[in-house]
């Protein structure tokens, strides 16, 4: 039962990673850039939800919606102001700008909300705890909501990219930006849309993350951000199912190694698994194998 309980915890953490990883992987697939500020958008989302619940007295659903709205606007603004002018620049220049953006968000949060950790209201997601196998396995309500949210998001995104016009445009842009432009797809709008979706997902992830681990400070988003980025690479960056698989596996590996091997070394084990996977499959688990042409 202890194993099963760890597995459930891993599934919960993995779902959060997967939702964050979706943001990384979509932006990478379409804009071909590593958006290092994504982790900090999570943090902003969590703070907005915190303010909604604590200061403005909003009901939980409105808190989450408010966080999503703010993050969406934030993501699109960041893209418009900082990344769009660099569309033709080297990938390293974009990377550094993204890092600058990450510092900027962290320090703005520091100015606005202060350095002291805030304790996130865990009752924001009020869902009854489950008790399975006649009480031997307890599953918290947050875990249930997280896993369900992950499933809904996965189905919705699969539908969105497969069936809708905008989703198809996204796939086209990620395949070949030049050709997509020639076919009359508005590349800039598609990229903005990607950032909007990714950031809205980041807000959800932020709320879920902070409900499960309720300390909120300006650096809250950075480590989960890096882990989720690892998850995206693990599953094959640019691939939406890859981000799902990568996120879930990473969460499970992390929690299991925390429980059975060593708490101190859990992060090292996660990263070591990533390295082994990349050595065996250099483009990740579900990534496209690109053959090199001379």
């Amino acid at each position: 039962m202890a194993f099963l309980s760890s597995l459930v915890n891993g599934l919960s953490l993995g779902s959060i990673y997967a939702i964050i990883a979706l943001g990384y992987t979509m932006v990478y697939g379409i804009a071909k850039m590593l958006n290092f500020a994504h982790g900090d958008v999570i943090m902003v989302g969590a703070y907005i939800a915190f303010c909604g619940a604590q200061y403005w007295g909003l009901p939980p659903v409105l808190c989450v919606l408010c966080a999503m709205a703010v993050c969406t606007v934030l993501g699109v603004t960041i893209e418009r102001l900082a990344y769009r002018p660099l569309r033709q620049a080297t990938s390293l220049a974009v990377l550094i700008t993204a890092i600058g953006m990450s510092y900027l968000l962290q320090n703005l949060a520091l100015q606005i909300w202060g350095a002291n950790p805030k304790s996130f209201p865990t009752d924001l997601i009020a869902f009854p705890n489950l008790s399975l196998f006649s009480g031997q396995l307890k599953v918290s309500g947050v875990t249930v909501v997280t896993v369900l949210a992950n499933l809904v998001i996965m189905v919705a995104l699969t539908f969105f990219t497969g069936k809708t016009k905008m989703g198809k445009a996204m796939r086209c842009v990620s395949e070949d930006r030049g050709a997509a432009e020639l076919m009359g797809i508005n590349v800039n709008r598609t990229i903005s849309m990607t950032f909007a979706i990714g950031s809205a997902l980041a807000a959800i992830a932020g709320v879920l993350l902070c409900t499960a681990y309720p300390t909120l400070q300006p650096t809250t988003g950075s480590m989960p951000g890096i882990k989720a980025f690892t998850a995206a690479v693990f599953g094959g960056i640019g691939s939406i199912p890859g981000a799902m698989v990568g996120g879930l596996l990473l969460g499970i590996i992390e929690i299991l190694s925390r429980a059975y091997i060593s708490t101190e070394l859990a992060d090292a084990i996660v990263f070591a698994v990533l390295i082994v996977v990349l050595l065996v499959r250099p483009t990740g688990l579900l990534g496209k194998q690109v053959r090199e042409k001379v």
Binding site: A82, G100, L104, E264, L278, T283
Partner: protein, 358 residues
């Protein structure tokens, strides 16, 4: 001016900038015109310059994005601290200069070994995948460093994993890091380290191996097809860079009385990358200047205390936007051309262009 001469002038001016800066700092130190906080930054500045120069070898010259450079610095720092502590407490060596030199060499060597171990898997990957794996290695090194306990007992050096109960004097105390380190780093040592790093990197770039490394960066397949061993040369750049980073780390570690592995987080790797990118990728002198300027900048912004990292972030974004703006690029190019013309007027050259001019 032929290419060789231009290179010589570039190299000499790089050394000259460093030497003049050192002399200027020494004069300021002697006249007492340097603030206390700036004085404390002298050794770290040398370390960051060395880090930037060494990362430039990987990112600029060899063209691989590495996000785990602080990991090598960490290996070097803790090796240096352990060796120095062992020599002092175990072997009774009191000569600080000799201890510093041995610690630096040991730090560099062990970081080099780490470079080989990491380079073998990493250099098989490409582009962003390579970047994420170096990031992963940096995090692994930090994590493992948090679990190592080292103590010196008589002449013996005890190293253990996840076990703090060691006999004798603890040098490295797991997550609490190194404690009561003998602060033996000096500004002169830092200056010499920078010169060594510059000497190694500049000579490497202008050598046969350096040209091979750059050829692989520009066109790997073409380079391989003329018989350049890509893995060997990439490895060479990676390991040399790791050794220099390790030496910088050893000096950095021996400049503080306590040091924790958390000091060498992912952010530090990124900071060094920022130095390299802002200094101009592949431009060694640029790395030196950017590293020095950006280490001092937060010190100078101390009046803004709370806002300094905010200002730093905004400056970083604006500089990236400005240097990649086509309009500004055009203006600077015109300016550079004008300056060039100004200088070339002094030595009139016979231009052989077309028949109508003759």
């Amino acid at each position: 001016m032929n290419a060789k001469r231009r290179k010589l002038i570039y190299n000499l001016s790089t050394y000259a900038v460093v030497v003049i800066a050192f002399i200027w700092c020494q004069m300021l130190l002697n006249s007492g015109g340097m603030t206390r906080s700036l004085k404390g930054q002298l050794v770290p500045i040398c370390c960051w310059i060395t880090m930037a120069v060494s990362l430039n070898l990987v990112v600029g010259i060899s063209g691989e994005l590495s996000l785990g450079h602080a990991g090598f610095m960490s290996v070097g720092a803790f090796t240096g601290i352990i060796i120095s502590g062992w020599l002092q407490h175990g072997m009774g060596m009191e000569d600080t200069t000799l201890r510093l030199v041995i610690a630096l060499v040991a730090g560099g060597l062990l970081a080099g070994v780490a470079g080989v171990l990491i380079g073998i898997p990493v250099l098989r990957l490409r582009g962003d995948y390579l970047a994420i794996v170096t990031l992963a290695f940096g995090e692994i090194i930090r994590n493992v460093m948090n679990c190592i306990y080292v103590s010196v007992d008589g002449r013996a050096l005890n190293i253990d994993f996840l076990n703090p109960n060691l006999p004798g004097k603890l040098l490295l105390n797991g997550p609490n890091g190194a404690v009561s380190v003998g602060k033996i780093a000096t500004f002169t040592a830092g200056f010499i380290l920078v010169l060594v790093a510059l000497f190694v990197v500049l000579n490497l770039t202008n050598s046969r191996s350096g040209r091979a490394i750059m050829a692989i960066r520009d066109a790997r397949i073409a380079a391989e097809s003329v018989g350049i061993n890509a893995t060997k040369y990439k490895m060479m750049a990676f390991v040399i860079s790791a050794v220099l980073a390790g030496m910088a780390g050893a000096l950095y570690g021996l400049n503080y009385s306590t040091l924790v592995a958390g000091k060498f987080k992912f952010d530090q790797s990124i900071n060094v990358l920022v130095f390299v990118v802002l200094g101009g990728i592949g431009n060694t002198l640029g790395s030196v200047i950017a590293a020095a300027a950006l280490t001092i900048l937060p010190e100078l912004l101390r009046e803004f205390s709370n806002y300094r990292m905010l200002v730093y972030a905004i400056v970083l974004i604006l500089v990236m936007l400005a240097t990649n703006n086509p309009l500004i690029q055009q203006v600077t190019r015109n300016l550079a051309a004008r300056v060039k013309r100004l200088f070339s007027k002094k030595q009139p050259k016979v231009s052989v262009k077309g028949g109508d001019q003759a």
